[in-house]
């Protein structure tokens, strides 16, 4: 016990003496949480629209007005030639082309129907998809308005209409920040837990101090605990800083209990620390550890459901996400913060991550050798 206490004391001394680590620990979460959520937003805005109007009618103008006043579109140009509009797309100045055929208004009035042409720049898939969908729904809306104007209200509505209204549960305003901030926080905690810890151990290898420790009778588990505990505490500290920032800057107050979040985080950190330890046993210098961490982090983030929904991933990727501890924490965070889930609701997640913790740590301890 005394040995462990001294190992911990040494570790904390070293951490707090390294100004760059301190800076990383406190600056990284603040900066990432204050800046990233503003940028990491799914809502597509500022779609550049190029309108080709062959009709120049009142209806056409009204429609374009309606589109631009939605706030999603910026009217890039308004011309009479399709080729001109295509050029705009080629120069990446426009994302969408809306072509209004000649006689649009006339046809609409006479024949009760008319067609529009839409060309989408699909280089940025997300923007193209969503932009197209927005435009379509705005035009449909406009269509309904026009119809409403013409229909002379009969006593009974001659046609059946199903109107759908939606209300967003748990996040009524569909505020993406409420959704993203907890996820980004999870990534931060993971980075500190797994990668700072592995770099720390590899550094001892690199400087040769581990050699000096290895010739001493220090027990394997003492040494490992001496490394894990400080980063476990740091991880929880970062989580607290992050939750504070979320509350102060975004007004995100977890709907569920903080205790649930901390309980899960405590177990989760054990798992990622085990991962960090494992990484350190397979690498021999900080450069290798860094590269490996980078690779893992990419996989973790992209296959965690932070940005893209897991349900829409192909089957094999969904299987991979099952082995990604980050997935579970992000889910739990969102469940607790948005929905107010309790311990019982997240128990499956909790036990899965506990399983990870046991497996990863066991593997790491077996692989950590005091002699070669």
């Amino acid at each position: 016990m005394r040995t462990l206490r001294f190992l911990l004391q040494k570790e904390f001394r070293q951490i707090f003496r390294d100004p760059s680590i301190i800076r990383i620990i406190f600056m990284m979460p603040s900066i990432q949480l204050l800046i990233l959520p503003w940028a990491a937003d799914y809502e597509v805005k500022n779609i550049h629209l190029s309108v080709v109007d062959h009709d120049h009618s009142q209806y056409a103008r009204q429609m374009v007005n309606k589109i631009t006043s939605s706030g999603y579109f910026i009217l890039q140009d308004y011309s009479g030639s399709y080729n001109n509009a295509m050029e705009q797309i080629e120069h990446d100045k426009a994302d969408l082309v809306l072509e209004i055929p000649a006689g649009f208004e006339k046809k609409l009035i006479k024949e009760n129907e008319s067609t529009l042409f839409m060309a989408i720049n699909a280089i940025n898939g997300v923007k193209a998809n969503l932009g197209g969908a927005y435009l379509r729904s705005i035009i449909q809306d406009y269509n309904r308005e026009v119809r409403m104007k013409w229909i002379q209200l009969p006593r009974f509505s001659p046609e059946l209409q199903i109107e759908v209204t939606a209300s967003n549960w748990f996040n009524p305003l569909m505020n993406y920040k409420i959704f993203m901030v907890p996820g980004i926080l999870v990534v931060l905690v993971t980075m500190v837990g797994a990668f700072l810890a592995s770099l720390n151990i590899v550094r001892e290898k690199e400087i040769g101090t581990i050699e000096q420790i290895n010739v001493t009778p220090v027990k394997k588990y003492h040494f490992i605990l001496g490394k894990l505990i400080p980063f476990w505490i740091l991880g929880l500290l970062i989580l607290s800083i992050g939750l504070t920032i979320a509350r102060v800057a975004y007004g995100i107050i977890p709907a569920g209990s903080l205790l649930v979040i901390y309980t899960f985080a405590a177990v989760y950190l054990l798992a990622v620390l085990g991962l960090g330890l494992l990484l350190s046993t397979y690498t021999s210098n900080q450069q290798q550890a860094m590269l490996l961490s980078f690779f893992m982090m990419m996989v973790f983030i992209l296959l965690s459901g932070l940005y893209t929904s897991i349900d829409s991933m192909p089957g094999w990727a969904q299987v991979v996400t099952k082995f990604n501890p980050v997935t579970y924490f992000i889910e739990v965070m969102r469940m607790v913060v948005l929905k107010g889930s309790g311990l019982k609701d997240i128990s499956t997640h909790l036990f899965t991550v506990l399983g990870f913790a046991v497996a990863l740590n066991t593997w790491a301890v077996i692989n950590y050798k005091k002699r070669s």
């Binding site: 001294f6 000096q212 010739v215 001493t216």
Partner: protein
């Protein structure tokens, strides 16, 4: 060969004299059970294609309380051997014991009893002198106070700076700190891997004096060094090259084993002189040695014969004198014959 010459050149000759004077044979006394036994140890690194045989069956014994030197050029296998004896590395073959404990089976017990100072400074640079010492005392389950008298002589020299971080110390101070940390748990066997590499001549001398006084406390000390002039400070030395031990003997024994006549030669044009000497039939070996060239002669030749030969080759006043072989001459001869 070139490497060998470099090693010699690096050494200041001034050191040798003083070291030889201090040298005394009093390795002791109480109990003659060997403290370290190395028996046919082998170790290789790498896989099939670039296989390196670091140790090719090394054997020797070190008595209790002995100051034992392992001397050899870089790459001789000294560090591998030390790492095996300190249980950091597993040997491929052979057996070894430290303090009567097997290095493979009883490694846990050995770790309580040995002190190891690696060649590279490997203490925590971001901790202070005092914190480093306390840390190592604690993980050996002891305290600085308990064993203070053992390290007093060494530690007192750096104690005034005890709040300075280890990374900010000079080379000599780092070395003293490392030695203090290796000693803090009162080890019965001390392994010092190239402790004097990269240390100035004065500090080197000082360091060897520290080792002599440690020896008086009954600690068995194994020191490896690439500097041959340090051999004279040891009770016995093993000469290693390419993973093999060439000889194990006391420094006197090594010198006595050198039977051939040896002369020192000096003239104005030293480079030309060396070339001419190497062409002479009576010369077995000639190499630069400080301001002289040392020339090993075949039996039956003498200094006057060399003098004559040089005068025939237009050297006016060559200085030629017969000298007693130095330990370095002996090692050079051993290495060349190996």
């Amino acid at each position: 060969m070139i490497e060998l010459i470099k090693v010699i050149k690096e050494n200041s000759i001034n050191c040798i004299n003083s070291i030889n004077n201090i040298n005394s044979v009093n390795f002791s006394t109480e109990n003659h059970m060997p403290s370290v036994i190395v028996n046919n140890i082998t170790k290789q690194y790498g896989k099939k294609k670039d296989l390196v045989q670091a140790l090719k069956g090394v054997s020797f014994e070190v008595q209790q309380g002995e100051l034992f030197g392992i001397i050899g050029p870089d790459g001789a296998g000294k560090t591998s051997l030390f790492r095996i004896l300190t249980t950091l590395l597993l040997p491929d073959g052979g057996t070894a014991s430290v303090d009567g404990l097997d290095v493979v089976k009883d490694f846990k017990a050995i770790r309580h009893r040995v002190g190891y100072m690696p060649g590279r400074f490997s203490l925590y640079q971001d901790l202070t002198i005092e914190e480093n010492l306390e840390f190592f005392a604690t993980i050996f389950n002891t305290t600085v106070k308990d064993n203070y008298d053992l390290i007093k002589e060494i530690y007192s020299q750096i104690e005034p700076f005890k709040n300075r971080r280890a990374g900010k110390l000079s080379g000599g101070m780092k070395q003293k700190l490392a030695l203090s940390c290796a000693l803090i748990h009162k080890p019965s066997v001390l392994f010092l891997d190239e402790p004097t590499t990269g240390v100035d001549a004065v500090s080197r001398k000082e360091f060897w004096e520290m080792l002599r006084s440690l020896k008086r406390q009954g600690i068995t000390i194994l020191v490896s060094t690439p500097y041959m002039d340090e051999a004279g400070m040891c009770d016995r030395v093993a000469l290693m090259q390419n993973g093999e031990v060439l000889s194990v003997d006391s420094p006197e024994g090594v010198i006595d084993a050198f039977k051939q006549p040896l002369v020192a030669v000096k003239d104005n044009n030293m480079l030309q002189l060396l070339n001419d000497l190497q062409r002479y039939e009576g010369v077995k070996d000639a190499y630069p040695f400080g301001e002289y060239h040392h020339v090993v002669l075949n039996n039956g030749f003498s200094a006057s014969a060399v003098q004559q030969y040089l005068q025939q080759h237009n050297y006016h006043q060559p200085e030629v004198k017969t000298i007693r072989a130095d330990i370095e001459d002996c090692f050079i001869a051993l290495m060349k014959s190996a």
